[in-house]
């Protein structure tokens, strides 16, 4: 019997905590993240009213961190869904059909692996301009190569197995075989890599917003909060500490959850290299 899966439970707890914070932000936050600016209250240290202190415009950092979670999680989860859909469709179909399509997908995957995804996302953001939709597209189009590789290699090994051949003999359509025979058999590893992918998307969003290419102020994102906080870090370090801590806790949660899922689904498949 395996022992208590600490990674899974701690990761799950942190993830649920962050998701709850994002969902219930309007209920929990006592201030509006954008409009409750009051220069009289600017740069106040954390106290009973302003749990995380206030920023240069006198806005409540705690409320802004909560609303920032909405952006981070939306970007993280939605972009990872896009990535998974692209990676799975390309990977499964390439291995299933083979031929020139497989060569093309393989070539594209290699090219995608060679361009660091943050750089690629940066280029796309430069074209589309800042904003949530651009972020979803930029991060959703740039991080599917590992999913694609996993889907491709599992399909290749599954294709040779009897029940897939039986389904072919029965005259099932290709798309039906892919969706009902192949896809369910790779749920485990795909779930693991997607969970880890959400973490890296959250990091990428923060980085892009920090560079001024993601979510534009005044709406809060953890990244752009850090850009603002950078200017006044000596006077109000709390404005820099808490948004970063939020990113850390969120990414840590998804990473632990991913590791925990991996341990649960396949104790032998330990992290070797990523």
């Amino acid at each position: 019997m395996r022992g208590f899966n600490l990674n899974l439970w701690l990761g799950g707890f942190l993830t649920v905590l962050v998701i709850a914070g994002a969902l219930f932000a309007p209920l929990i936050a006592s201030f509006d993240p954008v409009f409750d600016a009051n220069l009289m209250n600017s740069e106040l240290p954390p106290d009973a009213t302003f749990w995380f202190g206030t920023d240069a415009q006198g806005r409540d950092v705690f409320s802004r961190v909560l609303y920032g979670a909405q952006v981070s999680l939306t970007v993280g989860i939605v972009s990872q869904i896009i990535n998974s859909v692209i990676g799975l469709s390309l990977g499964i179909s390439a291995a299933y059909w083979g031929g020139w399509w497989d060569d093309l997908v393989n070539g594209l995957t290699n090219v995608m692996l060679a361009i660091p995804s943050l750089i690629f996302a940066l280029a796309i953001m430069a074209i589309l301009g800042p904003g949530l939709p651009s972020l979803l597209i930029a991060l959703g189009l740039t991080n599917w190569s590992w999913t694609c590789r996993i889907a491709r290699s599992s399909t290749l090994s599954l294709k040779a197995q009897n029940y897939v051949q039986a389904a072919q003999t029965l005259g099932y359509s290709d798309t039906r075989i892919m969706a009902t025979q192949l896809l369910p058999n790779m749920v485990g590893p795909i779930l693991v890599i997607s969970t880890l992918g959400i973490g890296s998307a959250v990091l990428a969003e923060a980085a892009l917003s920090f560079l001024g290419l993601g979510i534009s102020p005044p709406f809060p994102s953890w990244g752009n909060m850090l850009t603002d906080a950078r200017e006044l870090i000596v006077i109000a370090p709390w404005a820099a500490v808490f948004p970063g801590l939020a990113i850390f806790v969120t990414v840590l949660g998804f990473n632990l959850l991913g590791d925990g899922l991996r341990d649960m689904l396949d104790p032998h498949m330990r992290t070797r290299s990523e």
Binding site: G107, N110, V111, A114, I115, P116, S117, L118, I119, L122, A123, I124, M125, A126, I127, G199, L203, A206, A207, F210, L211, G212, L213, L226, A229, R230, I233, V234, P237, A240, V241, P243, G244, I247, F248, V251, L252, N255, L256, D259, R270, T271, R272, S273, E274
Partner: protein, 311 residues
């Protein structure tokens, strides 16, 4: 060995061309050309005649395929075009910046390898120990840290509060200026290397040949030196390569944070003013770096692992 090296190097070329094409296509569908963004940034209202002249000057009035052809021909002659902003050759602009980037990447990687690999090694040799637990918690934390946030906190503590180190800039190459950016950039690969090394050691320790080594009657230290280290390095070298290769990309945000004059900050600056030839050039250099490092790793790999066929 030499033939293997040359062959691997030639395999890089198609990928580079594909990347060049991909980047070129993406930037040729840009709504709003450099010329108009240059104009609207300026004080004067955009003047159609002026835009037309600028477009002609940079060859932007020609069709896309023709421009790509010209670009590829230039690429073959190591000519990456002319910067819209400085009107200098892109190669010169990049050359002015790349050494700072290399310096930062190498410093960060040395830090990551020198600390991360031994840490993972020691942790794995005493699984379940306090050091092992701390290393593993540290590793997963290091992988979850937003690097630029860590950089910001380091800057706050060591530069602004303690005043031990300069907060940002290049300082004309002064070593002191390198420390904070290198630590910031090195943390993620360090964490990953500690983790990979630990997993690698545990994997090798389970191999049959370790049992053979024990049955020969060798001490643990000899077993580690003779039978463990090299086998683990074969596993770790791949991770080192992937990390070192993606370092230029990772460095973008950190260079910007520390105002480090490398190609990362060059890329961010050029993106914001849409200096497309420089953007294309820097991305190509970053990708080329990745591919060259990985090719180099393959060659090292073939040198230390006799099972790899060098044909």
């Amino acid at each position: 060995m030499l033939r293997f090296t040359i062959r691997r190097l030639f395999q890089v070329i198609p990928t580079i061309i594909a990347v060049a094409m991909l980047i070129f296509i993406i930037f040729s569908v840009i709504p709003g050309s450099f010329a108009s963004s240059l104009m609207s940034d300026g004080k004067t209202a955009s003047d159609p005649e002026m835009i037309a002249r600028l477009n002609e000057q940079f060859g932007l009035d020609k069709p896309v395929y023709e421009r790509f052809g010209t670009y590829l021909v230039g690429l073959a002659k190591l000519d990456l075009g002319t910067s819209f902003r400085t009107r200098e050759p892109v190669t010169k602009v990049i050359n002015d910046r790349i050494w700072a980037s290399l310096k930062l990447a190498i410093a960060a990687m040395v830090l990551a390898v020198v600390i991360g690999v031994p840490l993972g090694f020691i942790a794995a040799l005493k699984p379940g120990s306090l050091l092992d637990s701390i290393t593993m918690i540290g590793a997963v934390s290091g992988l979850s840290l937003p690097q630029f946030w860590l950089g910001l906190l380091l800057m706050y503590l060591f530069a602004l509060i303690l005043g031990w180190l300069p907060s940002f800039g290049y300082g004309g190459g002064d070593f002191k200026y390198l420390i904070l950016p290198a630590i910031t950039l090195g943390v993620t690969p360090l964490a990953l290397l500690a983790r990979t090394t630990r997993a690698g050691v545990l994997e090798i320790m389970n191999e049959d040949f370790i049992r053979t080594a024990q049955s020969k009657g060798m001490s643990n230290s000899r077993m580690i030196r003779w039978h463990l280290t090299r086998n683990v390095m074969v596993l770790v070298v791949t991770t080192i390569g992937l990390q070192f290769g993606s370092m230029m990309g990772q460095a973008v945000v950190i260079e910007k944070l520390f105002a480090w004059p490398g190609i990362g900050s060059l890329l961010v600056d050029s993106v914001s003013i849409r200096d497309i030839p420089v953007v294309q050039g820097t991305i190509l250099v970053i990708v080329l770096w990745f591919l060259l490092i990985n090719t180099f790793v393959d060659i090292i790999y073939a040198a230390i692992d006799p099972r790899i066929k060098q044909t």
